[in-house]
């Protein structure tokens, strides 16, 4: 039953994402009825599905496709991945619509745990952000290592900057850097807020010749179609991007699949899981560095 509802919800979400037409609703509902019927014949067998709410970067980079199959095979647990922005992933956890979350926005994560929506937050891995811009580099960022200084120069020169503007982990980080650089630039012609996913934002920044903060993985995946170049990287204080995994608090949401969620957390933080994260490559490059039990 729950599986059927989840399937319907995710199909409907996809339908809503594209433009809904009456016909496109029929498919999911038919599927819902079929799944429901199939579920009834199992005599209410316990539902072992595990719902992981996570950010788009872990799904679109292919990391989850690399990590999850061995876990699913060995534990006999089916993992349903809901890939959204960090803000919405935590919101799903807060409403009890997910069993475990894998996100990257430390301040939001700590708040999530402090409000007792989640328990047992652990560092899983990290990747890094880069500051990209048009090849002409009007703000003169080339060679800088300090992200805050880079933002300061963009702001001082009135250069165009594209913000995710969607409460994602990347957006939260961007705002933290702006805060240190003296605040978000004023004027909606120089500070553009797209409110879209990372890939879409890279295309917009490229077309509008704007600077943009991006995670390295998405940039690598899009690099071939873009003119954007990396100008600032390697600022360990500002550009490192740690991912945390948090169990949704079973006391707040008794229906969560707590055992399966714990098993997934143990798997990701075990020496074997950590090695597997480090072994993941895109175009021969490491995208996610294991946290190493820190």
């Amino acid at each position: 039953m729950a599986t059927a509802l989840v399937a319907l919800a995710s199909m409907l979400r996809r339908t809503v994402d594209s433009e809904a037409t009456p016909m496109s609703i029929v498919g999911p509902i038919a599927l819902f009825v079929v799944t429901l019927a199939a579920g009834c014949t199992r005599d209410g067998a316990p539902d072992r599905g595990l719902r992981l709410a996570t950010t788009t970067s872990t799904e679109s980079s292919g990391l989850l496709a690399h990590m999850l199959p061995p876990f699913e095979r060995e534990e006999g647990i089916e993992v349903q991945v809901v890939a959204v922005g960090t803000g919405q992933a935590l919101e799903l956890g807060r409403r009890g619509d997910a069993d475990v979350v894998l996100v990257h926005a430390r301040t939001l994560e700590d708040e999530f745990v402090a409000q007792e929506h989640g328990v047992d937050r652990r560092d899983v891995m990290w990747n890094d952000f880069v500051i990209l811009g048009p090849p002409s580099d009007p703000a003169g960022l080339r060679g800088l290592r300090d992200a805050v200084e880079a933002f300061r120069r963009i702001r001082a020169g009135g250069h165009t900057f594209l913000s995710r503007g969607d409460d994602s982990g990347t957006h939260v980080r961007e705002l933290e850097i702006w805060e240190r650089a003296g605040g978000v630039p004023e004027g909606h012609d120089v500070y553009l807020e797209a409110g879209q996913g990372m890939g879409r934002c890279l295309v917009i920044a490229d077309q509008r010749r704007a600077y943009v903060l991006a995670d390295r993985g998405t940039f690598l995946a899009f690099r071939r179609t873009l003119e954007l170049e990396i100008f600032v990287e390697g600022d360990a204080a500002r550009l490192r991007n740690p991912y945390g995994m948090i169990l949704v608090n079973p006391r707040a949401h008794p229906h969560v699949n707590a055992d399966a969620a714990r098993a997934l957390l143990d798997y990701f933080t075990s020496p074997r899981g950590q090695r597997r994260i480090g072994a993941f490559r895109v175009d021969g490059r490491v995208l996610f560095h294991p946290a190493g039990g820190r």
Binding site: V16, D17, S18, E19, V84, G85, G87, Q88, E91, L92, G165, D166, D167, H188, D189, L192, E193, A194, G195, Q196, I204, D206, Q207, R208
Partner: protein, 231 residues
């Protein structure tokens, strides 16, 4: 239920308070849609009526093309406009991508076949003797066309409103070539999409309410006109 109710209450408060982001989305939606519908209709309505009344050579092919144009999904229109306006595309130098102008270009392409097709539908069944009478009375051809258009004006206004409704609710073009930029190219439908993606249900409902009100207004005008025409 509480979740839905809270969302509705928050949305009504946003609308009542005149939230600047919602107001700006109303402005972008109305400005783009009204411009696109006006520009497209100026050509599409006379063209459709001409097809219906005079049945020129190959009119069947032209009507067919209009109907095909009516069912092209907005994301495909967006894709096409993106290809032309992108820096790598033929009109890249115009620097139009991710601006209101880009949305207008897309919506013109969306509006043209709808307005043309509906004007054709309104005139195709018309008694050709109206035209012939006008012509024998010494009217020039454009003049005769104008006479007929004024005869069926309520059908044409209905066509305009239908075109307006389609354009103001579209999402594909606004997202693909508008870019959903806050206080710049964010329309009512793209606000809904955006706020839902952020998990803010109330802020997603507010533009939905505005769209419903606009749709109701358009429907009311259409109904009033059709009653007017019958009496």
């Amino acid at each position: 239920m509480e979740f839905l109710w809270d969302g509705l209450v928050e949305a009504l408060q946003l609308v009542a308070r005149g939230d600047p982001e919602v107001l700006h989305a109303v402005y972008v939606s109305l400005a783009c849609t009204l411009t696109a519908v006006t520009l497209a209709s100026l050509v599409a309505l006379p063209y459709g009526a001409w097809l219906g009344l005079y049945r020129p050579r190959y009119h069947r092919v032209q009507v067919f093309l209009l109907r095909v144009g009516m069912s092209v999904p907005t994301v495909v229109i967006g894709l096409l406009v993106f290809g032309f306006l992108s820096r790598a595309g033929p009109f890249g130098g115009a620097d139009l991508l991710y601006s209101k102008s880009a949305i207008i270009v897309g919506e013109i392409l969306l509006a043209f076949p709808i307005a043309g097709s509906l004007a054709h539908g309104a005139t195709a069944g018309l008694d050709r003797r109206v035209v012939e009478t006008a012509l024998t009375l010494g009217a020039s051809r454009p003049r005769a066309l104008l006479t007929v258009l004024s005869e069926i004006r309520s059908a044409l206004v209905a066509a305009l409103l239908a075109t307006f409704g389609r354009c103001i609710t579209e999402l594909g073009i606004a997202m693909t070539v508008g870019g959903n930029l806050l206080l710049s190219t964010r329309t009512l439908p793209s606000t809904i999409q955006h706020e839902l993606g952020r998990g803010d249900f109330g802020k997603a409902v507010a533009p939905g309410i505005v769209l419903l009100v606009l749709a109701a207004l358009a429907a009311a005008v259409t109904q009033w006109l059709s009653r007017e025409a019958r009496e």
